[in-house]
């Protein structure tokens, strides 16, 4: 419970209706898509930068923790208020302020849902490339805080690559602005890249300028199966190495394909060790040429079967398998853990084999999905957190997966972030001085450690 004085100060800012502190309501802000939970003392819904500033002033005056929240789809516990305090929710601050396709930018508030941006842009023939699997729900503020990526980021880059400018409220309540509406801007430090990916620990984003692109004229999609994982990997390297940059290259391993077939009978090849979904986009003629080139290469690397999408419906059908993978694993047990370690592309097959071994060693069913073109892996582990014995095995498996990734020059997270899930593992990929540098930066902008405390810094 917050002190009544603080409560009244907060209500003064947002009004009674946008302030919650009854247990039933607070419980709804104690979780995200990660396993852990923690109750806040109060929830406020903000609608303007000024409100955010005033709330942070109150919070820093009383040293009350403040944790930002978008839609709560984080899978690493980033918005869970482990030190209680205030959850500051951006979901109602969701206006698209400006769409300017002539200058190729949009200005939005942080609570806008990613898919709503896509829908608003589509009529003018534009899109915003970052496409996290959660795009129908997750907010731009959350995407920025986690530097979200998605399948098409292989070609287009991640959230950070699309931020031109932002407005941020610091812990002190000061409102700062950096970047501009210009694609080229080298005025001062590139602060956008400091705040993007900071998981709400450095400041709260209240407005952003995002770069947008014209929707490509043509999309070509195909599904290729390989008998051997090594062949799949060679095909991926061959394609990437040849200079073609597909929009997406998604790999499903044998365990995943079999789990999908068990549940939805899509007619996938159960014996294939690697199934690759490849998508290219661009100008029609270029796509056709690249497509022929890719076909030649995958055949050379031993592809067993190639299916092409002729119509938009075909394309949907080919994507169905990839899209359903998460759900298929989610249905296998009460909980689903989805990891996102990343390794250099050439090491994807070694990593998959190691994950398979780790799964066998601990008696766990681990399916592997990977954004193969950029080495971002998604091992999916269905498990039951109430089964203590199994849970110990799950934790061991994760521990080993992180170590394996680090050994292969990989990293802990490609897109989900560190949050609560992986903070203990930071030393695997960062030395002490680097971690300390992050702490110093944190201390400089948030001396009282009120912004999302208890996380990785």
């Amino acid at each position: 419970m917050l002190d009544i004085k603080i409560k009244n100060q907060l209500i003064e800012v947002v009004g009674q209706n946008r302030y919650l502190d009854r247990k039933e309501e607070l419980a709804c802000f104690s979780y995200d898509a990660f396993i852990k939970e923690a109750m806040p003392d109060a929830v406020v819904f903000v609608q303007t930068a000024d409100e955010v500033a005033r709330i942070l002033k109150v919070a820093s005056e009383h040293k009350v923790p403040v944790t930002g929240r978008g839609a709560g789809t984080s899978v690493c516990g980033a918005p869970i208020p482990v030190k209680n305090g205030i959850v500051l929710c951006f979901s109602k601050m969701d206006k698209i302020i400006e769409i300017n396709t002539a200058d190729r930018y949009i200005v939005v508030e942080p609570g806008v849902v990613n898919a709503d941006i896509q829908n608003a842009l589509a009529p003018s023939g534009f899109f915003y490339p970052p496409d996290p699997g959660s795009m129908n729900t997750s907010t731009i503020g959350g995407n920025i805080a986690q530097n979200a990526g998605g399948p098409r980021c292989l070609k287009y880059g991640v959230t950070m690559d699309y931020i031109l400018g932002m407005e941020v409220v610091l812990a002190s309540g000061k409102i700062v602005k950096f970047g501009s509406k210009n694609i080229k801007d080298v005025t001062g430090y590139k602060l956008c890249s400091l705040f993007c990916g900071s998981e709400g620990t450095l400041g709260l984003v209240t407005q952003v300028i995002l770069k947008v692109l014209p929707i490509p004229e043509t999309v070509k999609t195909m599904l290729v199966t390989f008998g051997k994982l090594d062949h799949t990997a060679r095909a991926v390297s061959d394609i990437i190495g040849s200079g073609i940059l597909p929009a997406a290259m998604e790999l499903m391993d044998k365990m995943t394909v079999n789990a999908i077939e068990d549940s939805s009978h899509l007619g996938l090849d159960r014996k294939a060790e690697g199934t690759l979904l490849i998508e290219i986009d661009g100008v029609k003629e270029a796509c056709e040429k690249e497509m022929d080139n890719i076909i030649e290469r995958v055949k050379k690397q031993g592809a067993l079967d190639i299916q092409y999408a002729q119509t938009p419906e075909d394309r949907e059908r080919l994507w169905t398998a990839r899209r359903s993978a998460y759900g298929v694993f989610a249905k296998l047990a009460p909980d689903i853990l989805s990891e996102d370690v990343t390794v250099p592309v050439s090491k994807v097959p070694v990593m998959i084999k190691r994950i398979n071994k780790i799964g066998e060693r601990h008696g766990l069913k681990i399916g592997v999905l990977a954004h193969a073109g950029d080495g971002n892996m998604h091992p999916l582990i269905p498990a039951d957190r109430n089964n203590k014995e199994e849970w110990v095995r799950v934790e061991k498996a994760f521990d080993e997966i992180f170590h394996a990734a680090a050994e292969l020059d990989g990293t802990l997270s490609g897109e989900h972030g560190i949050g609560l899930a992986k903070s203990d593992y930071l030393p695997l990929v960062m030395n002490k001085d680097t971690i300390e540098l992050m702490s110093r930066i944190k201390h400089a902008v948030d001396p009282d450690n009120i912004l999302n405390p208890g996380k990785f810094v």
């Binding site: 919650l20 009854r22 247990k23 039933e24 309501e25 419980a27 709804c28 802000f29 979780y31 995200d32 898509a33 990660f34 819904f45 839609a71 709560g72 789809t73 929710c89 979901s91 109602k92 969701d94 609570g111 849902v113 898919a115 959660s134 129908n136 729900t137 997750s138 359903s324 998460y326 759900g327 989610a330 249905k331 009460p334 909980d335 689903i336 039951d384 109430n386």
Partner: protein
């Protein structure tokens, strides 16, 4: 409670933006995920029953859209339904809801209520009609009651010729019986044209769903048992519903509550397997229709997909195929044709502010189609849409059967 299904919610949040209530309020506590998490906390004794908990659970249209978006295959509907029962036991309903339960739980009361209301509609002076209403809907924009209830006006068994194409048992629901007999008579006309024998069991009554939403299990059981006995006819090839929500009761709710209410499982399952919604029924038998050869002036029509048609029957594609095939209309779909209208059984008068925002968006979407007529096959949606239309750009809202029947040979 089934722990397994409860825990299967991975809290991924993918259901949030599928939920019409969340989309309006943009608050986690109004989301399907939150409802499930609260139910779980309640089941695990981490959270006590309270009026607020009850309210959070009830602020839901029971539309089932969340289930469609859920990768973990959660059956939200059943879980919400069970929780509603528990909450209703612990906390009193508001007087409005209570009187609805009283009214719907006995057919004679509903009949009497309808008669009284009809009388009332006549007696209420115009200036009062402007002022008072139900939820968002001003009184004068509520539908007029049928002069005679449909089931009294129609024959119980209607045969056409000696060799009928089959036997249909027609479950009319309360709305067709008391409010919208145009739907009933149009349906009969179509079935007659197709050559079916039709039985409209006199003993049928309110499906009981509105009662179950509010936890009135005992009253609901009476209705359900009455319906099971009235509908379980060996002769029936199909049990036809003109309203997807009533259909959901027969198809899903009765089986769901078989154990809790001690229903006859065999009968319930037999009925459930025979239920068909009228849109896909006609679409599948389109070859049986022959339309008049006179040149028909086509009207531009648009369509509101009732949530239950989409989420319980999965018939929305069929329904739209049918509309595209009709020679008497030009079907002009609205971008938001499948968005919930905010009616949701009794939701529109329990939460009028939320409902109003939803229906306003619907109406905006429909204006863009420039249609002359708005079709929908759920009476609550119909009442809600028609009731919220502004006077000046009035679109007529009717059941799709209404644009089929007059043009048959």
């Amino acid at each position: 409670m089934n722990q397994k299904t409860l825990q299967n919610c991975g809290k991924c949040g993918l259901c949030l933006n599928a939920c019409p209530v969340y989309k309006i309020l943009k608050e986690e506590q109004a989301s399907p995920r939150a409802r499930l998490q609260l139910i779980k906390a309640f089941e695990e004794d981490r959270l006590l029953s309270s009026p607020l908990l009850k309210e959070i659970i009830s602020k839901c249209l029971m539309c089932g859209s969340c289930t469609g978006a859920c990768p973990s295959g959660i059956d939200h509907y059943s879980q919400f339904m069970e929780m509603r029962q528990k909450m209703a036991k612990d906390h009193v309903e508001n007087p409005m809801v209570k009187s609805m339960i009283w009214l719907l739980s006995q057919e004679y009361r509903t009949r009497l209520g309808a008669k009284m209301a009809k009388l009332g509609q006549k007696l209420v002076p115009e200036r009062f009609k402007e002022k008072y209403g139900l939820g968002n809907i001003p009184l004068k924009r509520l539908p007029e009651f049928n002069i005679t209830p449909f089931r009294e006006a129609a024959e119980e068994t209607i045969s056409h010729g000696s060799k009928p194409a089959g036997t249909i048992v027609y479950f009319t629901g309360c709305a067709t019986n008391y409010l919208y007999d145009d739907t009933g008579f149009s349906t009969l006309r179509i079935l007659e044209h197709m050559g079916y024998r039709v039985i409209i069991p006199k003993k049928q009554t309110c499906c009981g769903i509105p009662l179950l939403f509010h936890g009135a299990q005992k009253a609901a059981k009476n209705n359900i048992v009455t319906n099971i006995n009235a509908l379980d006819l060996d002769a029936a090839d199909t049990i036809l519903v003109d309203c997807a929500t009533c259909g959901t009761a027969l198809k899903h709710e009765y089986p769901l509550f078989t154990e809790t209410l001690g229903l006859d499982k065999t009968k319930v399952e037999k009925i459930a397997s025979k239920v068909e919604d009228i849109m896909s029924f006609i679409q599948k038998r389109f070859h049986l229709l022959s339309f008049t050869k006179d040149s028909i002036e086509k009207v531009k029509a648009t369509y509101h997909i009732p949530c239950h048609l989409k989420n319980s029957f999965g018939s929305h594609e069929q329904a739209q195929t049918l509309l595209n095939r009709l020679p008497c209309i030009v079907y002009s779909p609205a971008d938001n044709a499948d968005q919930c209208c905010g009616g949701g059984g009794s939701f529109f008068y329990e939460y009028p502010e939320i409902s109003k925002q939803m229906v306003t968006k619907k109406i905006e979407g429909v204006k863009a189609t420039l249609a002359d007529i708005w079709l929908t096959d759920c009476p609550v949606c119909r009442m809600n849409l028609a009731g919220n239309m502004e006077e000046k750009n009035e679109l007529q809202v009717v059941h799709p059967v209404k644009v089929i029947a007059p043009f048959l040979n």
